[in-house]
């Protein structure tokens, strides 16, 4: 159990991780997440599920190296065993035949969107997808998203591939066409992207769900670290979400809460880099 069957770089600092977790793969649904811990000293890291293969009993996660724990995880190899994988956690995404569904994924957010797009397609939806990344080499899952989608639109911030600009440009263009018929939108990506998407879709009054990834500890409702304000009420993303009505989420609060440990994250990263013999970019740790 918890054995890594594949660890592969998909793009600079983006990794595909496949783990043998028989029980979780039999239960997991689109929109859910797992919490994993790499070793005894490790923190509990919440990770969205990218895909499952219940026959092979393999769970797929795509993660970005954003701090010490994820950088450390990226050094793990096929055959290594993770200390724990807990799940599936959170409420699955509500899937029904909406007619036409639009899936928007930004950066690493394409990974969870992929699983949801697959479920929407299986339910008979016409799926239109918009995916975007900073640059062509950071764009993940393009082929898979193309297979799942009736229509796929791509943007890159630097214009190295697809539309030169943001996913929101493509969204505005799409919705301003008269006949798209989109009546459900799922948007996952950086908080700033989700906030921008929701501002636009609010104008068109199209139901928009977002999947939030605030700081968590246990992931089972016990600690309240992941509280987010939705419609003026405090919700726990781990048990009440992670999906919420994007038009009601207080994204500004979420951005601030996500930055709670930046100082400690830097200390941990510097220390890890030194340990790994990498050069530090920020000089001596104070």
């Amino acid at each position: 159990m918890n054995k890594i069957v594949e660890m592969r770089k998909l793009a600079p600092s983006i990794n595909l991780l496949r783990i043998g977790v028989p029980e979780i793969t039999k239960k997991a649904q689109a929109g859910q997440f797992v919490v994993l811990r790499i070793n005894e000293e490790g923190e509990r890291i919440p990770m969205s599920i990218t895909d499952i293969d219940p026959e092979a009993e393999i769970l797929t996660i795509i993660f970005q190296e954003v701090g010490k724990s994820t950088a450390h995880l990226a050094t793990f190899k096929e055959g290594d065993v993770l200390a724990d994988v807990v799940g599936p956690l959170g409420i699955p995404t509500h899937i029904e035949n909406f007619g036409t569904a639009l899936c928007i994924g930004g950066g690493i957010g394409i990974a969870p969107v992929h699983f949801i797009a697959k479920a929407l397609k299986q339910k008979g939806n016409k799926v239109i997808s918009i995916i975007g990344a900073r640059s062509k080499n950071l764009l993940i899952l393009e082929d898979q998203m193309k297979r799942l989608s009736d229509e796929l639109l791509i943007s890159t911030d630097d214009g190295s591939y697809g539309h030169h600009g943001f996913v929101t440009d493509l969204l505005t263009n799409l919705l301003s066409e008269q006949s798209t018929g989109v009546n459900f939108i799922m948007a996952i990506g950086p908080v700033i992207m989700m906030r921008a998407v929701c501002k636009i879709t609010q104008l068109y009054q199209i139901r928009t769900m977002v999947s939030l990834n605030p700081i968590m500890v246990d992931g089972t409702g016990m600690c309240g670290a992941c509280r987010v304000t939705v419609g003026g009420k405090t919700q726990f993303a781990c048990v009440d979400g992670p999906d919420f009505d994007g038009h009601k989420v207080d994204f500004d609060e979420l951005l601030k809460r996500q930055a709670m440990y930046v100082k400690q994250e830097r200390i941990a990263m510097e220390r890890f880099n030194q340990k790994m013999g990498l050069h530090t970019t920020e000089g001596v740790i104070k």
């Binding site: 724990d84 807990v86 409702g221």
Partner: protein
Amino acid sequence: MTDAEKLKIPRQKMPAQMPKERIKNFKEVPFGYTPEMAMTEAKRCLQCKKALCVGGCPVEVNIPGFVLMIAQGNFIDAAKELKKTNSLPAICGRVCPQEDQCEKVCVLTKKYQPVAIGNLERFAADYERKQGEVEIPQIAPPTGKKVAIVGSGPAGLTVAGDLIKLGHQITIFEALHKAGGVLVYGIPEFRLPKTIVQAEVDYLIKLGVEVKTSQVIGKLFSIDELFEQGYQAVFIGTGAGLPNFMNIPGENLNGIYSANEYLTRSNLMKAYDFPEYDTPIFSGKNVVVLGGGNTAMDSVRTALRLGAENAYIVYRRSKTEMPARIEETHHAEEEGVEFHFLTTPIKYIGNENGWVTGMECLRMELGEPDASGRRRPVPVQGSNFIMEVDTVVVAVGNSSNPLVPQTTPGLEVNKWGNIIADPETGQTSRKGVWAGGDIVTGGATVILAAGAGKKAARDIDNYLKFL
């Protein structure tokens, strides 16, 4: 020794780390009795024929019996006597509110000081553990019956210990990565060393209990699926697992924690040893903890050890209504915690980065008694003032975690979401399903949870016999 001679012996104090020293470490505060001290203390017991202390104990430990054994120097026998009714004596000796239970009704209490029953319990259990091999009791021949226990806190551990000895096959499902429940994530090392909890869990494993960590029942498997997997009885001891907040403005500012989060980071995740351990914790200079229970005391004393310059308790009632154990309050006072009684926060003030910088409070006064019999605190209009704080820990209780009830059709809960269970047997509205501990009672004590586990174990055994 005559009773008159016994009455002359003063209650023996446990030696402890000095306050100035101990706030710099997470090691346990009291060192425990030496064998000599324990024997001296045990000799103070008058061996009442009608021992009130036994009735004061939720699980009716034979207190005069084990105390006499200590007085006679038979420490191992004393530990065994304790374990007949209490499977977790090393833990209960440390965390039980003895002053509200056994010691409260000790015949000495009126004129003298009560026998230090808790300290003696702790001594006997520690003595046995330190001797090395704890004796494996006789285990009944296998019955072939399988029992699933959900949650590895005091209730679950007790059920497991009792049922494995009766020959049943036991599996504990624990959501977190370490077994022990609140004993591991909630109670700090300086009050309950984790090696003691681990010793209890290891003992159960040695008896044959299977412990599955990182398995969230209600998510990975439902209760019904446990039955499909061949378990014939299920005990739910999932604890009080949803932290209460006060729903006042600014509560989601950075620096404001639930006690569950603050303590889980420090205890379970060992954030006090960051960056050796990956989990961070924000350790502010001015830390305020809201609440007057043991969890509040644990949090405020943790804050001191994490480097707080000022550590405050803000409690809306007065000192006499505080539910914390006397020893915890006393230790907190010794360590320099500042208490603000009859005070309640009404809003938080934050900076542009979303960090808490202050807390606006109101003074309270005590009015008429409320439903709990305690005098209701009433706000004094216009008494607003602001406290400068950079960390807040909200320790105002827990609600029940809904994961199991939500996924178990037919399992009845009350209006607070607590599972309804027979107080004598632990039986729920679902056949083959028992429950006990905080998930039934709401936030209570380790010994009450263990007591509920004992009753449920007895009833589960009866049920299995007739299956």
